[in-house]
């Protein structure tokens, strides 16, 4: 079976795939045990499977293992942990910006990509950046608040990792 190498969450990783067209989503979830990226549609329409590839948000259901080869992939697990969340994750926890939480992965990955390129986003910037991410529970307003809050945390260079009381 062909082998493919890349960095996943900062670590050099090799996976095998019988099909060069296999979407990264399945390899992340089943070969690497990284379950944060979710299958939502397999069509690139909802954003639930989002990861960062070389720092930019990408749909892992539409990215083949061949395309990902040699690149650097970051998943939601790679951003932070419940004890040490990334500032965006911390903002989502503080704002309680989830209901079922199935879309949360994609929201945070898209926000990460946005805030890397646009550290001072307006509300409209955030709405546009998340336009391709679907939330079915209607948690949008909290997600928007969380992303704007995260921008504030990042700007302040705050090391705040605990949700505010």
């Amino acid at each position: 079976m062909a082998k493919y190498s890349f960095h996943v969450n900062g670590r050099a990783t090799t996976v095998e795939s019988w099909d060069p067209g296999q979407p990264m989503l399945y390899l992340l979830r089943n070969s690497l045990g990284l379950h944060a990226a979710k299958f939502g549609c397999g069509l690139g329409q909802c954003g639930a499977c989002s990861v960062l590839i070389d720092g930019k948000v990408a749909r892992s259901c539409m990215t083949s293992v061949q395309q990902a080869s040699g690149r650097s992939i970051t998943t939601l697990e790679g951003l932070g942990t419940p004890d040490k969340p990334d500032p965006i994750q911390a903002a989502f926890i503080t704002e309680q910006a989830a209901q079922c939480g199935y879309c949360t992965n994609g929201m945070i990955m898209a926000a990460k990509s946005l805030l890397t390129e646009t550290p001072h986003p307006t509300l409209e910037n955030v709405k546009r950046a998340l336009a391709g991410n679907l939330c079915r529970c209607g948690t949008h307003t909290r997600i928007l608040s969380a992303v704007l809050d995260a921008a504030g945390r990042l700007i302040q260079g705050s090391k705040l990792v605990q949700p505010k009381a």
Binding site: S17, W18, D19, Q22, P23, Y26, R29, G33, L34, H35, A36, A37, K38, F39, G40, C41, G42, L43, Q45, C46, A48, T75, L76, E77, L79, G80, T81, P82, D83, P85, Q89, F92, I93, Q96, A97, A98, Q99, C100, G101, Y102, T104, N105, K127, R128, L130, A131, N133, L134, C135, R136, C137, G138, T139, H140, T141, R142, L144, Q162, P163, K164
Partner: protein, 742 residues
Amino acid sequence: METLNAVSRRDFLRAGGAVVVSFSLGAALPKWTGAQSAAPMADLGKPLDPNEVDSFLAIHADGSVTLYTSRVDVGTGLRTAMSQIAAEELGIPIERFTVVEGDTALTPDHGGTGGSSGIPVGAKRVREAAATARQALLRLGAQQLQRPEAELTIVDGYVQPLGTGLGVSFATLMNVKRLDIKIDSKAPQKDPAQYKVVGEPILRPDVSGKATGRNVFMQDLVVPGMLHGRVIRPPTIGAKLVSVDESSIRKLPGVSVVRIENFLGVVSSDEWATVRAARELKATWSEWQGLPGSDDLERHVRESAVDHDEVLVNEGDSAAAFSTAAKQFSAMYSWPYQSHASLGPSCAVADVRDDGATIWTSSQGTYGLRNNLAKIFAMPAEKLRVIFLDGAGSYGGNGNDDAAADAFLLSRSMKRPVRLQWMRQDENGWDPKGPPQYLSLRGGLDAQGRIVSWETQMWLPKNIPGNRAFIGIDAAGISQDHGQGAGQMQMNGDPSYASPNTRVVVHYLADSALRISNLRAPGKIANVFAMESFADEMAAAAGVDAVEFRLRGLIDPRAIEVLKRAADMIGWQSRPSPNTQAAQGNMLIGRGVAYMRYKQQENYVAMAMEVAVDRASGQIQVRRVTCAHDCGLIVNPDGLRNQVEGCILQTLSRALHEEVKFDRSRVTSVDWASYPILRFPEVPQVEVALIDHPEIPPVGAGEAATAPVVAALANAIFDATGVRLRTVPFTPARVESALAKN
């Protein structure tokens, strides 16, 4: 507040194969290690009798507590709210609570999730169990400390003297034994005025796991030896499987085809091979055309056979009052089939063996699912164990139960555990749908502008007793129930305002074109859309401000309070509709309001909305939504607010975009392009006022705020444009054509 940090962690423990959510502090996050590989153990010896305290609550030697409930949390925060109620009543800090949900081997059956009943019914029982336990512990403490109960109190899991002196912990009193007592529904309960935990915005324990990719969803479950399955649905709903060409997928590694009559599935240890096999397997199906098509659904429903009528309200003489009314009104409102359209397609893992089966699911009712599967497969229910795991929001009866039945069929054939996940087209195409609704209204005002007559006729699918049929089981030719039900769809069919002559009639239809089930706030959203649009039509025709018109017909102070509050929040200016102010370029600006009491006896909710309608494109821009919500006692204000916001935005999605499309053979709205939902650029500013009544027992809040959304929106559109939209969804094409006719 310390508790906020303390509960921001989620921790998975193993308890006989169940995933356990813990509020515990400081515990590292152990990896999910898979489920038990031993034979299914449906009987773990734990009490399950819903009349026993021990069935609901276990106090452990380390002072921690496990709460067991069949009421599952589908992203609503129920597990947090229920823990708050139990913690409050027991006098044990909430950080020590762990919740086990929907595991038929561990949780007592006190109902499934649905109908916003988790708090008023589900948590009520938990509260009674906790109050009974508290009394028993106080009694044990009195014996141990050799002091009268009246001199003792409960603090943080200890029975303590009111003054000075040593106390004794619950754990010591329990001595790892069971309490072994029946729940006493009359056991004294804490006075809400003394509440310390109930009423606090305790953080949900699952959110940190969800935000860091550590929460274990149903879709993430890995069972040792598990195979990945997919089902292949026919290209048309009623097609029969003629032949399968297995050579078409020969090049894919290790894929097995499972065929049981017309049930077709593929299974492999490699998920991607399974997905490709499901896509590439060549199968021949018979032709079928049994649907009316969605384009002319309204006429089809109106012309289809009525099974029976039911008169829900008949006060005064509405016909006579109508005929003599100073102003007469009539209108027809229509609602399409809608999909639950869960963001994650339904998923289940089944491990079916000769001596029993274990099924992991996100079903809202694990006991119902267990009993249904047991009946279908002629197995004793005790041999089946059904375990709930967090899923994508289900909003009622989505595809989860069907997926469990599909997984069962595949595992039974393969004699291995099988993880079955639907694809997007399966979810949007084959989930049981929220039914279409038609309402015909007639009413009249007297010369003073008071309602003198109100008549509602509604067309609804009839209820058929029995379980809803699984599509996979039907396809496999296995006998099962063919029940039909979609919840209490007939509620909220009469006006919220005083009407001396009122008649409400339901015409129950013999057939439904598509398979149906409960979809969030069944029936009530469309009914209130009709009721509150119609009231608005009356107000406009009478030249009376919409809020003023409503206030004239209300006497309940809680109703008046929410209505005034929602109007105040949006800066309501008293004037009749439509708006005569100049447009902002192409944008016509308007505001609308709606009020209702959910199920006529639960939450009071009022909503006001500000919209802009682009007369060039027909595009509706919702700018602001204000909502005042009164559900009695507020258990968790942040959780409640999250639910109310979700109700508003999800229902805006349903109002603006959602309609299941189908031709003569199949559902054609099978992805997010053909079944669009609300997107971020459309999200308005949402302001919610929560009105707390600690003295009034709480009702549920997962649905109520959905009900006035569409009416408030339609009323705002009327105010902006002078055009009344009576058919959902309010697509740009529909708005354009309505504007053109105006």
